[in-house]
Symmetry: D2
Subunit: 321 residues, 4 copies
């Protein structure tokens, strides 16, 4: 068996389960910082551009981040219809803000990230990601714990986007994936407001947490819609969940959506339009079934425990077989 | 940084690009054979069940194969409406045949695989895959080169399913991904017949080959439709392409599809129904654009060269950045 | 950074510590069996020939096994001077027996291995290892537990060679690395008899177990000598320990050794002669110091726990820093 | 098969051959710089302390560097007997200088390294390596190309130590592993001077280059002695070669060596003393044979090509089988 060429000697091994890992080959380190909160790399890869890596966990890369950030932001924005104020929890790369600021209706956006040094490094080294969103006068960057901000915000927001890192046990963000937190988010929304959550992977071996997050959101929001997209460098399909007080049209007319996007945004989307949105909302049977069968609710007392430090936790290997 | 548990010491490193690999942890080898054609393993994994591996290339596994085989088979069958005869090229695991035989309309199915030993081993060790499809009297297993069969078949088929291994340079199947071969397939179809091709990955760094395959099919079939699904253990979204003489309804009514499936199949689908099919046909913008911009046609003189033996070949790393 | 070619897609990851692994690229599987005792592969590698792998643990390979088997066998044989009967515990590949049978003085050798299927497979597929030692009428292959044989052997042996797999917790062999077992071995020796133990790695991060094994042997044998060699595919220097009732000359005259080897063996050694033996017995300072400072004795109640299933156990990472 | 714990998610894959790699798990990056010459990391590992990595190639680490630096330096120093001036080519970590400066006889040492930034970073982050050798007034650090220094040095040196990175094709150092360079080194030596070369790995699959380097040195120096040591994190035994005009005593009396070391050095050696030196000089048969059989001489026209960028080059896979 003759072999192939390889491009790297420096690798991140990202375990998806204890028996599956995706290895990212690093061709160059652009920045490295040890901040008070985490260990940060900005690296160059061979096929997928530049990437942000926090505590050895892949966050996003320029080569396929549009497959994550566009579906994270625009369905919620379209659902609201005319968002003026948007709160982003997490999202240090600035790519979520970039998508939010495409909306001409937006007058005020706040992005809350706990780590000034990461935000600064992304601003300097990941221009492809933020595309100078940080210079937009409508955007306020708040260096704080997302938990604090939700506890204390006086403003009501049209859209709240939870773009936090995965709820790893003992990690910084697991509390923000609970019923109590979703209630705080709901209270901070305007009556027509929409909440959207990055809601974990939906691959068969990893589906349980997503189903439980959707189940938990249903106890808080009148209407909840799950959808997913595939991000190659995550080695999984990725789930999202919308929560709102208004019914959600899961068969939106693509032409109408295209007209709205044309009217209300500055354009430039790479993966999402009316047709894509219609597709996103048509969940495959196995995901619908897993959600329908789920009864587990995440609370501060029983928060999610995402795989990533040695336990399968909320994964469902039995499901996958 | 405290570590995690790992489940395996035996790994298959599957390179997606020279800078990205997916590592499959093997917990047990169920069968190993060196056949006249290839080296075959049937292995057990930790999270994704049992897998077939040919020449160190992952073919499919019981944990997520339904995400590949259901969308491979049913869109073509539904498009035809009432398929009586179906020709399967490749598909030694028997899972494609399993899906075909769900259709009560099917009177005759032929599955062509070059390797008797692989078919026998799958029949013995991968019951979860074929679910005894091999015992169905409607199925004929033909041990032959798919090229020969297409050259010589006298029968006209309602549906032809190309479930061949990727067109690796010097591999056995690259000729079957060319204009000339697609023409032979078209000639072997009944007037309302439908051809469907497993048409390579559609992740941004790997999209070019899919676009070229669709472009090539358009020179042969009046109507061509691309669609994709995500198979976690492939570490990529996977593309398919339908070719037929009749127009393709890309906004099928989910209820009508569900009624058809209920009426004409024996049921048991895990991922595909009307809603899923509607979603499948809504391609994201970046894939539509790549297909629309493509002009390259694969011929026997200029066949595809899929990455896998040391060259990026038809990948488009520039596209991904 | 331009990359290099790689030769394999199938890999064994052998963890030396939780932060160091050696990956063996497999180019072909020659045999695979799941026996009542273990999972066995005989594989072909790119640079180091054929290898035996048991329970995903590398045992030895044709490319560098002479660096292990020659120093395992000949120092003990030379120390005795004229060994007539030799008992080998373990050593299923037949390479230890091969070295023993080079000695023309040997009239009777017994090799005890628990697994008939492994012995048979090695006999068929690893001719380079055993070089038909199994056909030598002086050799008796006993399929049994080494523990049983030591408990019941009526014969007294001139040399006993412990060529067992590492004392992994819950593994089959850890009891045989204890004071009690060494006492049984001593009882089974003739008065001038020599016992030799494969005694674990001696790399700085892994040295503790070797030191403890030597310390334990010193409570049983009047004279104990540690020595080591480097086996590249073990990714470590490997330690051995001799135990005997007679003083051990650690500065043997190379010319005398060469004459003995020429007189008493059939020749053919690749790494060991008088000069090599003189070198082997000159342990570096750090190993001598670790042994001198050690007081821990392994007993059946407190046996060794070798790294290999998730714990560093008897490793001494502090030592390595 | 239950798995084990792993300690890292960031790995350096160091290919020894295209079918063998050693993976170093990184727990923390202490420094990262992209200098005009190379890409530098100083990292922390789990079991082997801190390491210097240049262009993704492992240089040395605090956990086992003593197994490399002590045998690199002291045999040459002992051979000379009373070295006053020592020239070090390479050795940016400062560990070679540290060993040289243990000698009270040394009045002047010069260390030539091409990369100021690497020297500065090692000085700051690898105190365990240099142990403040840089502050010793006897040491002069010269930032220059070793080639230039050898071309122009007016001084004659008692000992010249070549501690350069491996002669990778297109790398910076391959010219310094040739007959012409060895002649320049000889010319820069005092009449009793000793030259010592880090002379590549001596594992069976990699032995050819070492044999050729020794063969080349024999055309330049009256007396040449090869010896080797095992450095676990190099995943190989490592070779050295001494060249001098005086005969070399390969059976030195350990007690005499110990007395010399006590008298002339400040002590603190961890692996080398009289016994160790005696052992080092007793090369195993297979290495002696490979050297004796070698006739290839490296010249500027035909320099060595060490594996590391995709070619086996001067490796001898046939030798290993």
């Amino acid at each position: 068996m003759p072999g192939g060429e390889i491009g790297a000697e420096f690798w991140i091994h990202e375990y998806i389960t204890p028996w599956d890992f995706y290895a990212h080959g690093i061709t160059r380190v652009l920045a490295y910082r040890r901040t008070p909160f985490q260990e940060m790399y900005i690296v160059e890869t061979g096929a997928y551009g530049k990437a942000l890596v926090l505590d050895a966990k892949w966050q996003s890369c320029t080569g396929d981040e549009f497959l994550y950030h566009e579906p994270l932001v625009h369905p919620a924005m379209l659902l609201h219809g005319s968002p003026k104020s948007v709160l982003i929890l997490g999202g240090g790369e600035g790519a979520t803000a970039r998508e939010v600021l495409r909306w001409k209706t937006v007058e005020r956006a706040a992005m809350v990230d706990i780590d000034q040094e990461v935000v600064d490094a992304c601003r300097e080294h990941l221009v492809e990601m933020h595309q100078n969103a940080f210079d937009d006068p409508r955007l306020e960057v708040v260096i704080d714990d997302a938990l604090n901000v939700l506890d204390t915000t006086a403003h009501t927001w049209d859209v709240i986007i939870s773009d936090l890192s995965d709820p790893i046990e003992d990690g910084p963000s697991f509390k923000l994936f609970t019923k109590e937190y979703f209630e705080k988010a709901r209270s901070a929304l305007s009556p027509d407001g929409v909440f959207v959550l990055q809601a974990g992977p939906v691959a068969p071996a990893e589906l349980t947490m997503h189903a439980r997050l959707v189940c938990t959101m249903k106890t808080v929001f009148d209407h909840v819609q799950s959808y997913s997209t595939h991000v190659p460098t995550y080695a999984s399909s990725w789930g999202f969940a919308l929560g709102t007080a208004r019914p959600i049209d899961t068969r939106p007319d693509p032409d109408r959506i295209d007209r709205e996007l044309q009217l209300k945004t500055t354009g430039g989307l790479r993966m999402l339009d009316g047709v894509t949105l219609l597709g996103l909302f048509q969940l495959p049977v196995h995901i619908r079934r897993a959600i329908a069968a789920e009864t587990h609710i995440y609370t501060l007392k029983k928060p999610p425990k995402f795989f990533g430090k040695g336990t399968l936790a909320d994964c469902a290997p039995g499901e996958a077989r």
